[in-house]
């Protein structure tokens, strides 16, 4: 019981699932492995929310940038072993090409590294890994990130091509559903590099 309480205090929404599951089976000591399994499987209480979140994550194309692409039999396709884990930390890239004429942006073949007037951005790890992903985030921090276009709602600005100006129009319930779903996918340890942010344009 105490272990379940500690997990609740430290791991956000997933932990709420653990707590709910623990409460249903009674006040018993819950082994870590069982707690982990419960975390991976949404409890009935938020299964609908998770399903809605999956629908939104899939339908809004999160996979297009946050899952690295690899070359497959059908051309570039997402590497589902790295599902939504962002730009691979072990991928070495040369400097991006200089823009030519009206072509102002470049993208790596993985679709996870982007270069343009904003600098160089790397897509984030959206898995629930506690050290490198969203594992310690709260649902509200996720909502605030999309709503405000800033990391955890208050930090540095999100950079293109993250379409937060579009996604911020989603309502809170939908954004929280997306977060609930993201907390159920396999955690992948992948520390995405910091972006390189271009200086602001000079004064006119």
């Amino acid at each position: 019981m105490m272990r379940a309480r500690q997990i609740v205090a430290t791991s956000g929404l997933v932990a709420v699932v653990v707590w709910t599951a623990g409460a249903r089976v009674g006040a018993q000591e819950k082994p870590a492995a069982a707690a982990k399994a419960a975390a991976a499987k949404p409890a009935a209480s938020n299964a609908g929310q998770v399903a809605r979140g999956k629908y939104l994550v899939v339908g809004h194309g999160c996979n297009d940038c946050h899952t690295p692409y690899k070359m497959g039999d059908n051309g570039p396709e997402p590497d589902m072993t790295k599902f939504l884990s962002g730009h691979p930390a072990d991928m070495t890239l040369p400097p991006p090409p200089q823009p030519v004429g009206p072509w102002i942006a470049s993208v790596s073949a993985s679709f996870t590294a982007w270069s343009g007037p904003w600098g160089i951005s790397y897509t984030a790890n959206l898995t629930p890994d506690k050290d490198t992903g969203l594992g310690t985030w709260t649902s509200q921090q996720f909502v605030d990130t999309i709503r405000n276009g800033r990391v955890q709602g208050h930090g540095r600005q999100l950079l293109p091509p993250m379409p937060w100006p579009a996604f911020k129009n989603l309502n809170d319930a939908d954004l929280k559903a997306m977060f609930a779903y993201l907390q159920t996918i396999p955690a992948i340890k992948n520390k995405v590099p910091d972006p390189v942010i271009a200086p602001p344009p000079p004064a006119k």
């Binding site: 090409p97 540095r156 091509p161």
Partner: protein, 369 residues
Amino acid sequence: MRLPRSRVSVRGLRTALCLTLAAAITGVVTVATSAPPAAPWAPPATLQETGLYSDWATKTVAPGTLLFSPQYPLWSDGATKTRWMRLPKGTFIDARNPDVWLFPVGTRFWKEFRFSRRAETRFIERGPEGWRFAAYAWNADETAATLVGENGLRRSVEIRDGVSHAIPSRADCRVCHEAGPVHILGVTALQLSSARDPNAPHAEMLPEGAVDLDTLVARRLVRGLPPAVTSTPPRIAAPTPLSRAALGYLSANCGGCHTGTGELSSLSFALNYTLNRRADQLAPAMATAVDKPSKFRVPGMPEAINRLCSGHPDASVVVQRMASRNPLVQMPPLGTQLVDEEALRLIKRWIAEDLTPSASAASAGVRQP
């Protein structure tokens, strides 16, 4: 692994992705949503329509509009700022919590930013649904101020050396003003106290005609303050004038977000100076920052571990982040592009002189009864 690069337009990048990129660059919203929120408030198209001035040509402020000046100003890259508020007739501010005032629906605030000329005037209104935010950019000859779009304006008036003032997006207005329980950051019992701190960085003399706490209470525009606040003008309790100024600066510039509550509560980090606490309690900054480890690591500064490292300014994460304008490091993360050198000197001196282990750090910031 080394991967080939490709331009946005080459094969393999799907049309939808290109549209997404274009939307992100241009700010154009293209994705339909299943349940859009209710129609938002539409800000007036011009500053003139917000009712600040009764005579636009002479810039005469409308009757009932109160000029005010917080004793610890927020650093805005050296802008000269003028602030006003107006309460609906017959209403008052509920100040039972001296740190978190409650404003009646219809209350309006304006703040004008000047560099070489007027750059912008910000407007905040208390609506029935919550706070409303808008910003108005002045034209070059200062004859008109028009509504800035939702995404703000990165290149406003030049501050100096090619650096432009940036008018914030409406989202950024909310980031600062809705981060904690205090939504109007410069309007509290401490900020408007008549016991103004002469050592506050960028301290202003109270402008002629401006109201302070005493006048607001006397005019019954502020009601319900605890007797401890009305009997003596509130001030930061600190062992030295230096500590007082440092705690005041941190409260005004960092304590809007770092309140130890809300979405940042997991940091257990509060820099807001509160009057509403027990007399024997340390100021939040003293309790949560001095020799307390930071979760942030400053690149290239492995020795900077503690938020405020007693006696060692350069090993203090707060100092390093104040001194940076790298977007990944800087604090505050928005609203400023130039380091506040005057405040940086003050905070460094405070850490070096007042936060030495032998100093009475344990008593600093304990509120005087």
